[in-house]
């Protein structure tokens, strides 16, 4: 399963009533609070085996499933290089 699909599944699992796709801004939907933001970051770190550094914890990296999977790709390629 692609990282994008896994991320979307996670968000849909937590908010089954929301209809979201990979390019939808989840912040614009209004349900992202700090609890969910924390869960999302934990999910991404756990699922993809990465640690998101402080400077990557920017809203633009988390707006959409597309942006999050791009972040994951960046962090995992860093791991491969390291």
């Amino acid at each position: 399963m692609s990282s994008k699909t896994q991320i979307l599944d996670f968000i849909r699992g937590r908010y089954p009533q929301a209809e979201i796709d990979e390019s939808q801004d989840i912040f614009a939907l209004g349900f992202v609070n700090s609890l969910f933001a924390m869960e999302l970051v934990m999910f991404v770190e756990k699922t993809f085996g990465v640690t998101i550094p402080n400077e990557e914890l920017r809203i633009d990296n988390f707006r959409t499933a597309d942006a999050m999977s791009a972040l994951v790709a960046r962090l995992t390629s860093d791991l491969a290089v390291a």
Binding site: P16, Q17, M42, E55, R58
Partner: protein
């Protein structure tokens, strides 16, 4: 201040690495003196030192399941010491999770050794449950930050060396490390609380407190709120474990008393109404222990489900503590109301557990919110 009446036994403290060593530490160095701490209104330096010898100020050396077990044992002995440990653990974890190398270089070693104690400053005179309502500000200047505002109910505030202060920035709520000796910081003790009376609460005033650029802990911007969420999650976990410790302490005290005390020529322990109380204590202690362990296991696995599991554990354990502490006093009759009665202390401490780290009401709102999200389609 010298507290000869509360000075623990002279033996050095063995390292605490899990439940059984924690139990031994608490039985030797805490249980015999906890009521004296409660009436003197402070955990003495001597015990703080012994806790350092035992490694208790280095909570991150253990996994989370073990940390829960240790905090349960400490809570069984003395909720004031457990509260000091809770806020110190929150500061230590936040530093490890979010700190830069420079911040860790400065604080990790003294915090782990207990040479610096941490305290957690979120609540204000005008904002408790509603954390978004805080008015303390952190203003970014050319060369750092300036903090202005008043924090209150700060556990350990009278004694702590470094405060983890949550303040409003231009965009969000940020976390700042503020050494106690920074100019502009004033500490005013709050004595004579209802419960956790020895946890040395204070009101802390920040008046134009100038800090360097490295005072901000964690990201700024939208995710800054996550620092608070994570910090509170760990505090809640520790309070859940400590509340379970109160239930266990109530059970041990009540079972012992019920076996010794006779009414009408029979021990209390033979009376069905007393047995009912004891059986509920046993059952709730076991249930709370499972909930705390599950939250800890999810933390160790890095699973996001730990956050809700921790809410549930804390809600269950704190309400169980309040219920059973009340019953423990009931079982002890007048002796339970007497000066220096441990169950009287548990009763007062347990009430606090229903208020801190998310009050009962806030817990129910959060847990119900999750249930609603999960079932609405």
């Amino acid at each position: 201040m010298t507290l000869t009446s509360t000075a623990p036994a002279p033996a050095g403290a063995a390292p605490v690495t899990g439940r059984s060593s924690a139990r031994a530490f608490v039985d030797t160095h805490v249980v015999p003196y906890a009521d004296a701490y409660d009436s003197s209104g402070r955990v003495p330096e001597d015990l703080l030192r012994r806790a350092a010898e035992a490694g208790l100020w280095d909570p991150l050396s253990m996994d989370m399941v073990t940390l829960g077990e240790v905090h349960e044992e400490v809570g069984r002995g003395c909720s004031s010491l457990r509260s000091l440990l809770t806020v110190h653990t929150m500061v230590s974890w936040t530093l490890r999770r979010w700190g830069t190398d420079a911040q860790r270089d400065r604080w990790s070693a003294p915090l782990a050794a207990g040479d610096a104690l941490g305290a957690f400053c979120l609540s204000e005179p005008g904002a408790g449950s509603d954390a978004a309502g805080i008015t303390t500000t952190a203003t970014q200047t050319g060369d750092g930050w300036v903090i202005d505002g008043v924090k209150t109910w700060t556990t350990g505030g009278q004694r702590a060396d470094v405060f983890l202060v949550f303040a409003r920035t231009a965009t969000s709520i940020g976390a700042f490390l503020v050494p106690r000796d920074t100019p502009g910081v004033t500490v005013t003790p709050i004595d004579d609380m209802l419960g956790t009376r020895a946890s040395m609460l204070a009101t802390i005033t920040f008046d134009g407190v100038a800090l360097g650029p490295d005072a901000l802990l964690g990201p700024s911007g939208f995710t800054a709120g996550m620092v608070l969420t994570g910090t509170l999650d760990l505090g809640r976990y520790s309070v859940a474990a400590g509340s379970l410790g109160i239930v266990q302490a109530c059970l041990e005290a009540s079972a012992g008393y019920a076996a010794r005390r006779e009414v009408g020529g029979r021990p209390l322990a033979e009376l069905p109404l007393i047995q009912a109380k004891l059986s509920d204590m046993v059952t709730d202690a076991r249930a709370a222990r499972l909930l705390v362990a599950e939250a800890g296991r999810l933390k160790d696995a890095g699973e996001s489900a730990t956050i809700m599991a921790t809410w549930v554990a804390k809600y269950f354990a704190s309400t169980a503590a309040a219920r059973h502490a009340s019953e423990a006093v009931q079982i002890h009759g007048a002796s339970g109301c007497a000066p220096g009665s441990p169950v009287a202390r548990f009763y007062r401490d347990a009430k606090v557990m229903e208020i801190i780290e998310g009050s009962n009401e806030v817990q129910r709102i959060t847990i119900a919110g999750q249930a609603e999200r999960e079932t609405t389609r």
